[in-house]
């Protein structure tokens, strides 16, 4: 957005607070915090809009697969991502509301978010069923079982794994697991005879109303299979694969006596929880049992070795893209490792200090150490995780004709749901974008416009009179509602510049005006080619824009010559550089330059 735009925002504000941290609550008073995020390159040229409710930020995003969905973020992470990494200035208009109104609005966003998540989960479920049936039709059926990939398929009778088996035998009897396995296998046999899904009809989703439950017999079959595999793992003493166990790095590895005692205590709790799960009949217990059993083994390893050993979550698999990025922006990964190390130290310190919320606390330890493992193994020198989350299945009891007809129904269901999701979660530039949906969601809490005006102190219709444009809507918020303050959070570069000006007078003005001599900014391959920063220079912007275009044009020429060497990277960056310099000729700034190496504070 241009400096003029910011001027418009500021002129309308009741008071301006300069960024001094992320204070987002004043005692018990509640606020609707409307956030305007300054423009950026690509699809964010018009800026972005979000709503902060306490520490949670809700905003709408358009995804590559054509869905327009509600996103829920933690405020600290949201600010870091947009304000630091993307180097975009944020403006926050605060509207005081009653606690009751605040709760209702937050619930409405949470409700929409959860319903949306559930529906996309259903779509994933349909696709899993389709994949399973396809594999069955090929005579090689595989059931997806989350958590099974921690364990070895071939090894069994492992001494350490039997620690848990013995505990279960002691608590529930030595034949318990065997009997359970037998009974689950009987149930699976019954299911095998009827896995035909029902064709969905008359599906009509609404953004806020509960959807029908799309749970098929195949999903129940998957759940039973997971229970069978979990019991089998416990009964046969199957060990966790070495590649899924992470011995924490030296910085955090060694455990003192007290920490070992805490781990022992947590392992006892896990054991008890596994007993409860075995006796429960709740859905999803198979995966829960597998994860707990794997965690139990990892902790037993830790206790025996006196050092922290955790499971590596499959989400920490290292992609080829990450490996490539690690070589090009090495400094970033050094920084990232330090951050993740601190996070691991923090989560371990908390876990060892209290038995409060220990399931979540231990998950945080596992997660943070897993992320640290990811960084330490990104160069591929020390092994990697294999993608193996499935279990072979005997297909003999299911008739091929039934499989093929089930496959057809399953595919049809996935298509029907996908089409419906595209209808409900669609995007329209003028009347269904990130601005309009925020306001429509807020207003949907109230039965009438009069009620909106009464509770929020004002109203404006999202959409008409260019109000669908983020910066325009931000002005309208200030014009139409009783906003108590407007807070400006300058972008990362602007904050660094302010610091430099404080230290070194006018000199940084010249050095920091361009990408060649700047000490704050380092050009990197994700940014388009440009020479001058124009976001803080309104009057000179068209002139600097011309220079930026010429500079990027020169880069394009160079890019043509370097095509065989860099795979067109410089050419692409330079062409984008020309495009994003064009608005500067008309006094508009879109590109700010981004900062991939910023510490999360």
């Amino acid at each position: 957005m241009s400096s003029r735009g910011w001027g418009a925002i500021l002129s309308l504000s009741i008071s301006i607070l300069v960024f001094c941290g992320s204070s987002n609550s004043h005692g018990s008073q509640k606020f609707l915090d409307f956030i305007y995020i300054d423009s950026s390159v690509d699809e964010s040229a018009g800026g972005h809009t979000a709503l902060r409710l306490g520490n949670t930020v809700f905003h709408y995003q358009y995804h590559d697969d054509a869905y327009f969905i509600l996103v829920k973020d933690d405020w600290d992470w949201f600010r870091y991502r947009y304000n630091d990494l993307q180097n975009r200035t944020l403006a926050i208009a605060r509207l005081p509301v009653s606690s009751d109104v605040f709760k209702k609005i937050k619930m409405q966003f949470s409700r929409r978010y959860l319903l949306q998540k559930k529906r996309f989960d259903y779509l994933d479920q349909f696709k899993s069923a389709e994949e399973y049936l396809l594999s069955l039709s090929n005579g090689n059926g595989v059931v997806p079982i989350k958590g099974l990939d921690f364990f070895s398929i071939y090894e069994k009778d492992d001494a350490l794994a039997f620690t848990l088996t013995r505990y279960i035998d002691k608590e529930l009897g030595s034949l318990y697991l065997e009997n359970q396995l037998h009974s689950v296998e009987e149930m699976i046999k019954d299911h095998n005879h009827n896995i035909q899904p029902k064709l969905m009809t008359g599906i009509d989703l609404n953004l806020y109303s509960p959807s029908p439950v799309f749970h098929s017999r195949i999903d129940e079959y998957f759940e039973l299979s997971a229970v069978r595999e979990a019991i089998s793992v416990l009964l046969h003493g199957r060990p966790v694969l070495g590649e899924r166990l992470h011995s924490a790095p030296a910085d955090v590895r060694k455990l003192c006596d007290y920490e070992l005692m805490r781990l022992q205590h947590y392992r006892d709790r896990l054991g008890l929880s596994i007993i409860n799960l075995l006796e429960s009949s709740r859905p999803g217990r198979g995966t829960a049992l597998l994860v707990k059993a794997a965690r139990y083994q990892a902790i037993t390893h830790s206790i025996r070795k006196g050092e922290m050993i955790t499971l590596i979550p499959v989400e920490n698999r290292i992609s080829a893209e990450m490996r490539e990025e690690a070589t090009t922006v090495k400094i970033y990964f050094e920084q990232l490792r330090l951050e993740r190390l601190h996070q691991a130290q923090g989560s371990m310190a908390y876990f060892f200090s209290t038995s409060e919320k220990e399931d979540i606390a231990f998950s945080q330890v596992e997660k943070s150490l897993g992320r640290l493992w990811q960084i330490d193994h990104i160069d591929g020198s020390q092994g990697s995780l294999r993608n193996r989350t499935e279990k072979s299945l005997d297909t003999t009891s299911i008739d091929l004709r039934e499989i093929l007809s089930s496959l057809e129904v399953s595919r049809a269901n996935a298509l029907i749901l996908e089409k419906e999701l595209l209808r409900v979660y669609d995007y329209n530039l003028l009347d269904k974008n990130c601005v309009t949906e925020i306001f429509k969601t807020i207003y949907s809490v109230f039965p009438t416009i009069d009620q909106v005006e009464k509770e929020l102190g004002g109203y404006f219709e999202p959409g008409p009179y260019l109000s669908f444009i983020p910066f325009r809507s931000f002005n309208l918020v200030q014009q139409n509602f009783s906003v108590s303050s407007v807070e400006i959070l300058p972008s990362f570069r602007k904050r660094q510049l302010d610091k430099l000006y404080e230290e070194g007078g006018g000199l940084p003005f010249f050095a920091e005006s361009n990408t060649l001599t700047s000490k704050i900014y380092s050009a990197w391959e994700e940014d388009s080619t440009f020479l001058f920063f124009t976001d803080d220079k309104l009057l000179l912007r068209p002139v600097l824009g011309v220079i930026n275009i010429l500079y990027a044009a020169g880069g394009s020429l160079g890019g043509i010559f370097s095509l065989p060497v860099d795979d067109g990277s410089l050419l692409k960056r330079s062409l984008r550089g020309i495009i994003f310099s064009l608005p500067e000729l008309a006094f508009f700034n879109i590109r700010k330059g981004t900062f991939p190496v910023v510490v999360y504070e």
Partner: protein, 157 residues
């Protein structure tokens, strides 16, 4: 008519420049790469991952991150309960969704977590369900008399 059409096209072009809601992922691609996923539901799950280091004590940061996850977990459970008050979903459907939500927050065993049931109670309070009518709720059937029932009541009151 022609002029009107041209004006409309021009206006839409301007709108295209000024309105856009999707994230520019250019600067965050690496930060997010550990969480990248092609599945939209997974990306929703992972959208609030964070890394922390600051002048605050590491312990404080550890505590803060656990508290955030715990709060978010309870909020989601309360919301789920509100949704189920309006729906005809069964206890088993409700439990299945509880399982999905809890595993997303690192709570593997929601059944043995007091916070789960208190959050259900808070959801019922928001939905203005009275104590007397809890037994009539399809998704909470079978709970009466169990220790979880009193935890739900504690959240409701």
């Amino acid at each position: 008519m022609k002029i009107n059409s041209l004006l409309l096209i021009a206006l839409q072009s301007v709108c295209l420049i000024f309105s856009g809601c999707s994230l520019s992922t250019s600067s965050s691609s690496i930060a997010d790469s550990s969480e990248s996923s092609t599945s939209i539901s997974t990306s929703i799950n992972n959208s609030s991952e964070s890394i922390s280091t600051s002048s605050q004590s590491l312990f404080g940061k550890g505590e803060e991150s656990v508290e955030k996850v715990a709060d978010s977990y309870q909020e989601d459970i309360s919301t789920l309960s509100v949704i189920y008050v309006d729906s005809a979903g069964s206890a088993r459907d409700f439990q299945r969704e509880l399982g999905h939500i809890s595993s997303g927050h690192g709570v593997i065993d929601w059944e043995n977590n007091v916070a789960t049931f208190k959050a259900i109670g808070r959801g019922l309070r928001f939905a203005q369900v009275s104590e007397d009518s809890i037994n009539g709720l399809l998704f909470l059937q079978g709970l009466s008399g169990s220790p979880h029932y009193s935890e739900i009541l504690a959240g409701l009151r």
